[in-house]
């Protein structure tokens, strides 16, 4: 799994790592039960403060994306959220609203926006399928 930090994005580093790991999990690059890189080598590779990586992993753990077994490392959890379906839907609605506001500001019309969403979902499906095929090889 290749992570990349962009200092120009304005997003805190640990959040970037959280997002990238979540994206990897969503696209199948990271499979449930697979081990995440341990903190020290990841920090050395990215040349980032260890505390930052630790913070990112703590955040992922609190979101229920990974679980840390003492002495063994961190592993991706099965996609079982502890939250109720209603709560999950409400969390997603927040993010969707933000995207809609952004589309308005960027002057992207309604239909084009829906087109874009469909296109991006397709891309994710392609990626996931590619990782599945890779696994079978």
């Amino acid at each position: 799994m290749i992570l990349q930090i962009n200092f120009k994005s304005g997003m805190p580093i640990y959040l970037q790592i959280v997002d990238q790991i979540r994206a990897a999990a969503a696209s199948g690059a990271l499979r449930p039960g697979e081990a995440l890189p341990s903190i020290r080598p990841l920090a050395e590779e990215l040349r980032v403060n260890r505390n930052t990586i630790a913070k990112a992993y703590a955040e992922l753990e609190s979101q229920g994306v990974i679980e840390t077994l003492p002495g063994r490392g961190s592993f991706l959890k099965e996609n079982q959220s502890a939250l109720r379906k209603k709560v999950r839907r409400e969390l997603l609605i927040e993010d969707i609203d933000q995207a809609i506001v952004q589309a308005h500001h960027l002057q992207v019309p309604h239909d084009e926006f829906l087109e874009l969403i469909r296109a991006r979902l397709d891309v994710l499906d392609d990626k996931r399928r590619a990782h599945e095929d890779h696994k079978e090889d």
Binding site: S9, I13, A43, V48, R50, N51
Partner: protein
């Protein structure tokens, strides 16, 4: 009320070389477990500040506390609690690497031999070689090994990577992250003074900027700073009329193009620019080095 466990607390530090004031009313605080960046141009007063921490210089006024202790009064205690990599590393030229490390270990109660071995292997240093025959990068590496092995609570780095080749610089930072940041996270504090900010970008948690001996910025969290400081670029169909841009830190006009550096007022400035219907409008965050340049050039 001063918290007794703050690694470094400096208040109104003033130091002058003869008549030339190098540091003027400098105050800064370093929180435990964080990596603190002291940025400034050459000659801004960074090295002077650090020397005051070690009682190599005695401040004319102000207060310096390292873990609550005054370096002038409790010299040995303070030095036991920290380790130091200077900007110009000099060793006794007749000693070998092994001898130098043993010599420096004799001052310390605790010395991690295993870490020393790992680092020597990683840096590919020959323990039998005389320090007088080493290159500058290798000497800095020896100094780093000597600073990491005692596993002190505070690591002070003064311009550690200036003059080193890119690979040695990377290895240096990796060694700091890997070898120094072991152990209890809250107990490993780093103070880095440098003007080569790009490399330390990922390592820094908090930072401040010194210029002409004065602190130009209150201590900022690195992530927050990257959020606040933004570069906004706009291109207009014709030369734009006068826009109220006084909220920006720096403005640059080039014909139809406009570049702004904003300090926290990014959204507001974006709105103002949008009112004038630009052809293109982009925004991006600044890295710490760009923040450094932007602030000191304005």
């Amino acid at each position: 009320m001063k918290s007794p466990t703050l690694p470094i607390q400096i208040e109104n530090l003033t130091y002058a070389y003869g008549r030339r004031e190098a540091v003027r009313n400098l105050s800064l605080t370093v929180e435990p477990g964080r990596c603190y960046g002291l940025f400034g141009r050459n000659g801004a007063g960074k090295t002077t500040t650090i020397k005051c921490l070690l009682n190599l210089l005695r401040p004319q006024s102000g207060q310096v506390r390292v873990f609550g202790l005054d370096p002038a009064k409790h010299e040995v205690e303070v030095k036991r609690l920290l380790s130091y990599v200077p900007d110009q590393v000099a060793f006794y030229p007749w000693m070998s690497v092994r001898e130098t490390l043993d010599y420096l270990a004799s001052f310390r109660a605790h010395w991690n031999r295993q870490t020393e071995q790992e680092l020597l292997e990683r840096f590919q240093l020959d323990p039998a070689q005389r320090t007088g025959d080493l290159s500058k990068g290798q000497r800095t590496q020896v100094a780093l090994v000597a600073a990491v092995c005692p596993e002190t609570d505070l690591l002070v780095l003064d311009e550690p990577t200036s003059g080193l080749d890119p690979i040695v610089r990377r290895e240096f930072i990796e060694a700091v992250i890997g070898a120094y940041q072991q152990g209890v996270p809250g107990k490993r504090t780093i103070l880095v003074s440098t003007h080569l900010i790009t490399e330390f970008e990922g390592l820094i948690d908090d930072f401040t900027l010194i210029d002409h001996g004065r602190s130009v910025l209150t201590t900022l969290d690195a992530d927050q700073a990257r959020e606040r400081y933004q570069k906004i670029r706009a291109r207009f169909a014709q030369a734009p009329p006068e826009i109220d841009l006084h909220a920006a830190l720096r403005v640059r006009r080039d014909g139809r193009e406009l570049e702004l550096i904003a300090n926290g007022s990014g959204p507001e400035l974006m709105e103002r620019l949008r009112e004038h219907n630009p052809e293109a409008l982009t925004t991006e965050s600044l890295t710490l080095e760009e923040i450094f340049v932007a602030i000191l050039k304005s």
